[in-house]
């Protein structure tokens, strides 16, 4: 009995010493990392935006100097971007398996937004309406291979639609010259790219018959620039006076998509 008590006593004491040493060293490491964070030793580089194959990629370089006494493993940075309707637009993950103590790493976190997916996922409204996206950044890591930590940051991210407020103005009918004039306008709110390409359009009359097809070229509309043009269509105005619809096909260097606008009595 006495030996068992003695053994348990020693085990308890040894455990307490180990815990105390571990806690103190953890505290020291955490303080060291915190000081680094506050003095800017974990810097975020300047984000770079690039486009390829219908995908916009924001690359954020970052570096991490592990001055603590323990390894940091399974560093996982995940960025989720949802639009103003809470539809998930993009999920990007960067994983750093291990940052050994005393080591310095440099990595790049890539956030990809596929414009093709936006078009194919029926979220083309994002191309026409600017607003605030919600960006959620999760950073998870394991400290000393034992303690999992997670930091999540939820922030709004302004979204600039490349065809913001795309609309047709008041359709005017020129009976004398047998013309229909349709004013087109939009604003490029996107801070990242210019809009250029072609707009194909098909005009349907009140009986849903195709009355005219055409194409207009989009000269590069710079960021924060506006586009205004009047489409003069040699069509009999009487066929479009009551109601009509115009079907647009946008073809830009980055993506292509369709949109339809109606005018007149749209009860049918």
């Amino acid at each position: 009995m006495r030996q068992a008590i003695r053994a348990l006593g020693w085990a308890t004491k040894i455990f307490w010493v180990v815990i105390a040493v571990f806690m103190i060293t953890c505290f020291y490491s955490a303080m060291s990392l915190m000081t680094n964070l506050m003095t800017g030793d974990i810097p975020l580089g300047k984000p770079e935006v690039s486009f390829s194959n219908g995908t916009a990629t924001v690359s954020i370089p970052f570096s991490f100097n592990n001055t603590g006494l323990y390894d940091i493993s399974d560093l996982n940075i995940t960025t989720c971007i949802a639009d103003y309707n809470k539809t998930l637009i993009s999920t990007s993950t960067t994983i750093v398996p291990l940052i050994a103590h005393g080591n310095y790493i440099e990595e790049v976190h890539n956030i990809s937004i596929s414009l093709d997916k936006i078009v194919s996922k029926n979220t083309t409204y994002l191309l026409f309406n600017s607003g605030n996206f919600s960006i959620e950044i999760f950073a998870g890591l394991k400290f000393a291979h034992v303690f999992p930590f997670q930091i999540s940051v939820n922030a709004p991210m302004p979204w600039g639609a490349p065809f913001s407020n795309f609309s047709i103005g008041e359709v005017s009918f020129d009976y004398a010259n047998q013309k229909v004039i349709i004013p087109l306008s939009f604003k490029n709110d996107s801070p990242y790219f210019d809009v250029s390409g072609n707009i194909h359009y098909d005009i349907y009359n009140y009986e849903n018959d195709l009355v005219y097809s055409g194409m207009t070229h989009l000269d590069p509309v710079k960021s924060d620039g506006s586009y205004e043009k009047q489409l003069e269509l040699p069509v009999d105005p009487s066929t479009l006076e009551e109601r009509g619809r115009i079907h647009f096909l946008f073809e830009t260097s980055i993506f292509s998509f369709e949109k339809e606008i109606r005018w007149g009595d749209t009860s049918d």
Binding site: M1, R2, A4, I5, L8, G9, A11, T12, F15, W16, I19, I24, F27, M31, M34, T35, M38, V146, F147, P148, F149, Q150, I151, S152, V153, N154, A155, P156
Partner: protein, 177 residues
């Protein structure tokens, strides 16, 4: 004369116990209160959001509670040393510490949410492994105290029959009757 001597020995032993308890109290106070407070004062809270400060102040208070628990039990155990209460207090201390750690570490999952304007920062720390280790160590201490209690009681039980047999022996000797 013998009574006075016995009284003096009793007072001396009580004084010695009180002195030891006081020393233990001071050591415990230094180890579990002053040292952690020194560590807390090293945390650079300037420039951090107020939520951080309130989080740290909550843990500062919990350190005081921990120190109070440790000091109370250290003094109580020292005062009641050599009695069954010493082991009872040891058992109570292990149980109270287990409950304290579960409460202080919020079951192992610590969360902190810092809203700064439109941005919300949430921090989550999973300390379940650490909590499990702390509980395990306290369970070891609990087991040790249990064994000590059993040992103490068995020694007492062993002493009692010996005393009665001595009395029996004395009464059986005709000259001493």
């Amino acid at each position: 004369m013998t009574e006075k001597k016995e009284e003096k020995t009793f007072v001396e032993s009580v004084m010695l116990r009180v002195f030891k308890a006081a020393i233990m109290g001071v050591i415990t106070f230094f180890l579990y209160c002053l040292l952690p407070m020194l560590m807390f004062s090293m945390i650079p809270t300037e420039g951090l959001p107020s939520e951080f400060s309130s989080f740290f102040s909550k843990y500062e208070n919990l350190v005081y509670v921990f120190a109070a628990i440790m000091i109370c039990f250290a003094v109580a155990i020292q005062l009641s040393s050599g009695t069954i209460f010493q082991h009872a207090f040891s058992i109570a201390k292990a149980i109270v510490l287990i409950l304290y750690f579960i409460y202080a570490l919020e079951g192992g999952i610590l969360t902190l949410s810092i809203p700064t304007g439109e941005i919300t920062i949430s921090i989550l720390a999973d300390l379940t492994t650490f909590l499990a280790i702390l509980i395990l160590v306290n369970l070891l201490a609990l087991a040790k105290s249990m064994f000590e209690t059993i040992n103490f009681l068995s020694q007492k039980a062993e002493q009692l029959p010996t005393d009665t047999s001595k009395e029996e022996k004395i009464t059986s000797i005709p000259e001493l009757k």
